[in-house]
């Protein structure tokens, strides 16, 4: 699902495949199954999917940490397979595991990172970054004394020492409390405002909704949807009515609700059905009437605007595990 083609792309991926050798007597396992992506320079691009969907594998291939089995990838205009060393000069990486040596101080780690990236004035850049992520006061403490949020912010700072063109953030807020999550979101917006393209993987729908201009949804190694959050939700229709049902009632309820005038489509929800309709408020009464006529007494009925979870549900028939994080920003 290519969303855009052209030279103003920070990331361009075609037919990307990651294949692992299976065990004895087993075939190869494809973790990523031929995905296409096009990320514009300067945007925050979300890569949304449940655990094990292939998000991290994709990021690791694009960051040169994992060999590409098949397909093409260009990051910052450089071919990842042909010139991985050059790609590394243009990217910053903050992976899911905060890659910080707990025995070093925050300042030591940042200074080392600056030196490895040959930053001209490491001391000044360190001071600037420490201030940016609010760690100036904790800079001389060893990292093992930092909280989870502080570690995440320092990790983010280490990815920024050389002002990368493209920043890869792999689930940057997983495991963080709501306040730390909000701080990271703020940092992401600030970094992006300075011109850095951000490729962000997440399993949190709210995070993708809040931060990303465009996103792609991956499931089981394949892209299942791509677009802006609003366009993806708009494709589903204007409203979602979820209807609680007893086990065994799904089929008869579907048959009964087929007569609903404004019905766009129906999918199975965890304990009932999700109905995508044009005018939800007007349709609720019809839903109750049609179900009653079929002898079905619905449980809870809820009316909502479509969420990205509904987009995922519509594309895959399942909801994203983990769901939305607690409210953060």
């Amino acid at each position: 699902m290519v969303t855009e083609v052209g030279s103003e792309l920070a990331i361009e991926v075609r037919g990307l495949v990651k294949r692992y050798r299976g065990g004895r007597g087993q075939g190869d396992i494809e973790a990523v199954r031929g995905i296409d992506l096009a990320v514009r320079r300067g945007e925050v691009f979300g890569f949304l999917g449940p655990n094990g969907a292939g998000k991290t594998t994709t990021v690791r291939m694009l960051c040169t940490l994992l060999p590409i089995s098949d397909g093409q990838a260009r990051v910052a205009g450089v071919d990842v397979r042909r010139d991985p060393a050059e790609v590394r000069r243009h990217i910053g990486v903050a992976l899911q595991e905060v890659g910080l040596d707990p025995t070093q101080t925050g300042r030591e780690l940042l200074e080392l990172q600056c030196a490895l990236y040959r930053v001209p004035d490491p001391a000044a850049r360190c001071a600037e970054l420490l201030a940016l992520v609010g760690l100036s006061e904790a800079a001389n403490r060893v990292v093992k004394t930092y909280s989870g949020g502080m570690k995440r912010r320092l990790d983010l700072a280490t990815a920024l020492v050389h002002e990368p063109e493209v920043l890869f953030l792999d689930e940057p807020t997983t495991g963080l409390d709501p306040a730390s999550r909000a701080t990271v979101w703020e940092e992401v917006r600030r970094i992006n405002a300075a011109g850095t393209t951000i490729f962000l993987t997440t399993q949190y729908l709210e995070e993708a909704d809040q931060l990303c201009e465009r996103l792609a949804i991956i499931d089981d190694g394949r892209l299942v949807a791509a677009g802006t959050p609003n366009s993806l939700k708009a494709e589903l229709g204007s409203d979602v009515i979820t209807v609680g049902l007893q086990p065994g009632e799904h089929r008869s309820a579907r048959d009964a609700l087929a007569a609903l005038p404004s019905l766009d489509h129906v999918t199975d929800a965890s304990e009932g059905l999700a109905l995508y309709v044009q005018d939800g408020a007007a349709a609720v009464a019809d839903v109750v009437r049609l179900l009653a006529a079929a002898g079905i007494r619905p449980g809870a009925i809820a009316l909502a605007r479509p969420t990205l979870d509904d987009v995922f549900l519509a594309a895959t028939g399942r909801r994203i595990e983990g769901g939305a994080p607690e409210a953060a920003a």
Partner: protein
């Protein structure tokens, strides 16, 4: 080169801030040395021909030196870097990947010099003397440390291959047969037939003998010293190649 030094500095800081990872490397060999001396001091008095007039402790010091520096510490540090994701950060940086390995080894050199100096001082306290004088002392410390650097490759390769802390830690066990199937208690010519053959094939024998000759004799024995240096160089070459190969294949 600059990248290697930067990463070495970080690894040395790590060694300094985690003394609990290094101190057992001194304690265990010194413990063995003390127990061995206590058991056989009377069987092998200074008049024993192969002791060259010294106490048995002088014969044991080189064994303790080799024991002290042959650790899995660097491998454990590497597997920790893998575990916490720091190795990924280094691999994603625009540096030569070999610098990650050489940086670790540079820290091993510093650790090796520190540990062997401590063991040598303890040997002195128990009555050992280095007959070849100051040059001998310098060579003992330097060659012991270099052996530690050469041997570090085995644990690093295992760490990169298995990515598992327990397996890397268990790699320390490999050294026990290497250490004990040597002329560690008595000279090679006093070993029983099959054991002598095994000891002759064991590279660690040549390291211990080379170091031991520096302790026992006033003149430098170039033959044993040359064999010791050659063994260290070849071991370092082979294990470094294995480690670098494992590092290159790490991501696959």
């Amino acid at each position: 080169m600059k990248e290697t030094l930067l990463l070495a500095r970080r690894a040395v800081r790590e060694v300094w801030r985690l003394p609990a990872a290094t101190l057992p490397a001194v304690f265990i060999p010194v413990f063995f040395m003390v127990v061995n001396i206590g058991q056989v001091n009377r069987i092998f008095p200074p008049s024993t021909p192969f002791l060259q007039g010294q106490h048995y402790v002088a014969f044991q010091v080189p064994v303790s030196l080799v024991f002290a520096v042959s650790s899995a510490t660097s491998g454990l540090a590497m597997v920790t870097d893998i575990d916490i994701g720091y190795l990924d950060k280094l691999l994603a940086a625009p540096i030569r990947r070999t610098a990650i390995f050489w940086g670790r080894l540079a820290a091993d050199l510093v650790r090796g010099v520190t540990v062997s100096t401590l063991v040598l001082i303890i040997g002195f306290l128990f009555g050992a003397r280095v007959r070849s004088g100051v040059p001998g002392v310098v060579l003992l410390i330097l060659l012991s440390a270099l052996w530690g650097v050469a041997y570090a490759g085995i644990a690093i390769a295992i760490a990169l291959k298995t990515k598992n802390v327990q397996t890397t830690n268990a790699s320390f066990i490999i050294f026990f047969p290497l250490l004990f199937l040597t002329p560690n208690f008595v000279p090679l010519d006093l070993l029983a037939g099959p054991l002598r053959t095994v000891a002759q094939l064991n590279p660690v024998s040549y390291v211990i003998t080379g170091l031991r000759d520096l302790v026992l004799y006033p003149d430098i024995h170039w033959g044993s010293l040359g064999a010791c240096v050659l063994t260290i160089a070849l071991t370092g070459l082979v294990l470094s190649m294995l480690s670098l190969r494992a590092l290159n294949r790490f991501a696959e």
